[in-house]
């Protein structure tokens, strides 16, 4: 794996292990002496999942069942091709010239942990965040397919089960503030219990009152927002307190009835990038 995606994935997995130390599969100081028994399979939802990078490199290392949701047709189809390859790796070993292989070809074949052995599963759905109800993922969306573990006799009988983790990375900028609040409210309703979390990993811009002052940056190339985190009640001259806080991440979390459990910066990215927060 190339360096930056690897740093990103490792940072994400470390965060997950901090929140769910019982998922650690090797001896580690993070692992508690007494492990919380889980009666159900650990389920994760990956929204705005692209071609399945986070599902493959982060979630499947710790979760048993992942529901992968992506709105862009070419990305969900690529994710489906990769997922199907995991079940039926059609490989002509003689035709593979290791020296001539491109990184993309190598990337395509990286295993999705546990899928081929049917220990884990990935269910692929095409939907925007706006159309997705995580409590009922097949409602108003397009089912693409499922690979790996499948309940019997109905392979989708667990589809409406609650989630332990809902992972949102580099996609919430495509939601307006009202749409984001509504999505977070629906996501909250789909969490399994009080230990369950919504993880948001996004670029963040300078705070309100900072150099850009607005606390939000619009990118007209892909029509997306970069928000600031927000640092409690704003105290900025000339900026209405309510209007400014309701467009920061923390303001929007509060509006959705969510409480912030943990805040971390993704370390290891080079200067020049937006800061990435989890």
């Amino acid at each position: 794996m190339k360096s930056l995606p690897r740093i990103d994935a490792l940072g994400s997995r470390q965060l997950l292990l901090q929140l769910f130390p019982e998922l650690c599969t090797v001896p580690s100081p993070l692992k508690p002496a007494t492990i919380r028994e889980r009666s159900a399979r650990f389920r994760a939802l990956d929204v705005g999942a692209g071609i399945g990078r986070v599902t493959r490199d982060v979630l499947l290392h710790l979760a048993q069942d992942v529901v992968l949701v992506e709105p862009v047709d070419k990305y969900i189809q690529e994710a489906w091709s990769r997922a199907q390859f995991q079940e039926n790796p059609v490989l002509d070993q003689d035709s593979i010239d290791v020296e001539d292989e491109t990184l993309e070809e190598i990337d395509f074949r990286i295993p999705w942990k546990g899928v081929r052995e049917k220990r884990t599963s990935v269910t692929l759905i095409q939907s925007t965040h706006q159309s997705l109800d995580p409590s009922n993922p097949l409602s108003s969306t397009k089912f693409i397919g499922r690979v790996g573990y499948k309940p019997s006799p109905n392979e989708l009988e667990d589809i409406n089960s609650k989630f332990d983790v809902i992972w949102c990375q580099w996609s919430l900028g495509h939601l307006s503030n009202p749409d984001l609040v509504l999505f977070l409210i629906r996501a909250k309703q789909a969490l399994r219990d009080t230990e369950s979390v919504i993880i948001i990993k996004e670029n963040v811009c300078a705070e309100i009152g900072g150099p850009t002052n607005d606390g939000i940056v619009f990118d007209d190339q892909d029509s997306s927002l970069t928000r600031c985190v927000g640092e409690g009640p704003p105290n900025v001259v000339g900026v209405d307190a309510h209007e400014s806080s309701d467009r920061t991440f923390k303001g929007l979390f509060a509006e959705a009835g969510l409480s912030l459990q943990l805040e971390k910066t993704q370390e290891g990215f080079p200067e020049g990038l937006f800061e990435v927060k989890m």
């Binding site: 190339k2 995606p5 993309e104 925007t128 503030n177 150099p211 939000i216 940056v217 190339q221 020049g272």
Partner: protein
């Protein structure tokens, strides 16, 4: 959105090699030559525009992350 650069002083947006736009040479990363990023609080994302943009990008690691993000090799990090 999945990958963006910011100016170090955060006062001037930069013309990143956003996503897979390989026409922008790496030496222009920090040029600050573009006004693509607008600091306008009243702009809102349009879902269809976002999807249209991403449909124009490659369905690959480079496409979803951007060439810069996905290919840079940081040897200073020891994993």
């Amino acid at each position: 959105m999945r990958y963006q650069l910011r100016a170090q002083d955060q006062t001037r947006p930069v013309d990143a090699t956003s996503r897979s736009d390989q026409s922008r040479a790496p030496h222009n990363f920090m040029s600050g030559a573009s006004n693509r990023f607008a600091h306008l609080a009243d702009q809102e994302p349009v879902v269809e525009d976002g999807i249209e943009y991403w449909e124009s990008q490659p369905a690959s690691l480079d496409g979803v992350l951007g060439v810069y993000f996905s290919q840079i090799s940081l040897r200073i990090f020891d994993f």
